[in-house]
Amino acid sequence: MLFSLTTQELMERPDLWEAVHRLRHRIFVEEMGWTDLDRPDGLEIDQFDHEEAEHHLVIRNGELAGYQRMLPTTRAHLLTDVLSDLYEGTPPSGPNVWELTRYAVAPGFRDGKRGVSTVGTELIAGFVEWGLKRGVNQVIIEFEPMWVLRALQLHFLATPLGYQRTYGNQQVVATLLTFTEHTLNVVRQRRNHFLPVLNRGYPGQLGLRQAS
């Protein structure tokens, strides 16, 4: 189950808000070593958690299992403000283009050693569904080059926005992914799950397992 919440909606639920920023700290600071995001309270928060950001939360068994943040490109976002060496020329922007950041799968929900877990593919199905519903058909993602192959396997149309760069021990390439209903069908087929993943409203209180 995936829920899309605005920053305002997220803040109205302190349990979710804390779980989101704690997961982000755990993954991006502790695991990936992005030390400039480090905070003593163990919560990762940046200037892009603004009122227009949308937060996608995957909830499994009353736990936050996956997360990604969508940012509009009609105002400053990561590519233009922080990762500007990742693009050549003018980066795409507009109401139909959003930037996907902080894609994260909680450690307990990674299935195999290398493959993409079902939470990981739910996040992908989630942003495609979310986008197609609101007239968004392109996302900018800064990811490891191996994700280019996975995106193509899912029949996204992928276009690099610049050269790959090395940050620490990680390679990153900014890529524009364009999607249609066809992409959504391919993603659903790969997941072998054909029902929509995007839910309305709020998830239940975290920590409470739902009988299902």
Partner: protein, 243 residues
């Protein structure tokens, strides 16, 4: 036009390629500017995979034919320093780094020595990981390889798109019914070509004229949408027409 615009153009061309052979051709069109004239991409077989199944792992191939035969026949995949180096690393590397990095045993030395015989002196290789966690190895080689760091990045990016396109074509081919009818003679000729026999040798074995064996192979090649005989053999094996 800037180098990046050219890269985009190459990628666009790759995404419009409709056969694995066309993907190979377009990719090598880019990489041959840097001396990379031969290409192999495929999932890495587990050590000890029977030789007959190794070719099923091939996605893109424009390797010298005899070298491919020898590679499979001698089971070089288990001794190739490039393959073992690649399994440990996530990033692209040059072949010469692989042979420096490991303790060369006799067999890995033999692999690299043999590769040089086929004008494959150096190259670059990198692993990619699919959605389901399979490793795809991409290896490009040639006689003399000269790449700046930026070109290295460009080549690996373009190659990633090539492999992605090949995988798309692969899954599309799996879905649409594209059964190809090969005649028994065409199969026989391919089967002998797969073990390295020349057209003349095949004609002697099957008791037909050299011209006829050539014709059977050409027909099979075009039915399979292959650019050359090696690819026709690889494609026929992949589709299970020959073993």
């Amino acid at each position: 036009m800037s180098m990046f615009d050219r890269t985009l153009e190459y990628i666009d061309q790759l995404q419009h390629a409709n056969t694995a052979a066309a993907v190979c051709e377009r990719l090598l069109g880019v990489t041959s500017n840097f001396g990379l004239t031969a290409l192999m991409a495929g999932t890495v077989p587990q050590p000890g995979t029977p030789r007959g199944q190794q070719k099923d792992h091939v996605l893109l191939c424009d390797w010298p034919g005899e070298w491919l035969e020898r590679y499979v026949a001698r089971n070089y995949v288990d001794h190739d320093p490039v393959v073992s180096h690649m399994k440990q690393l996530q990033a692209p590397f040059q072949w010469r780094e692989a042979s420096q990095a490991i303790v060369i045993d006799k067999s890995s030395d033999e692999v690299m020595g043999d590769a040089r015989e086929f004008k494959l002196r150096d190259g670059l290789a990198f692993p990619l990981v699919t959605l389901d966690g399979q490793i795809v190895m991409v290896s490009l080689g040639g006689e003399s390889v000269e790449l700046s760091e930026a070109e290295f990045g460009m080549v690996s990016l373009v190659s990633t798109y090539a492999v992605g396109r090949a995988m798309q074509l692969h899954t599309m081919a799996g879905k649409v019914i594209d059964h190809i009818e090969l005649t028994p003679r065409e199969r026989e000729c391919l089967q002998w070509a797969a073990v390295g026999k020349s057209e003349w040798e095949i004609s002697q074995i099957l008791g037909i004229s050299e011209h006829t064996s050539e014709k059977h192979l050409l027909n099979a090649k075009s039915k399979l949408g292959a650019a050359n005989r090696v690819q026709a053999v690889a494609e026929a094996i992949r589709r299970g027409y020959i073993s």
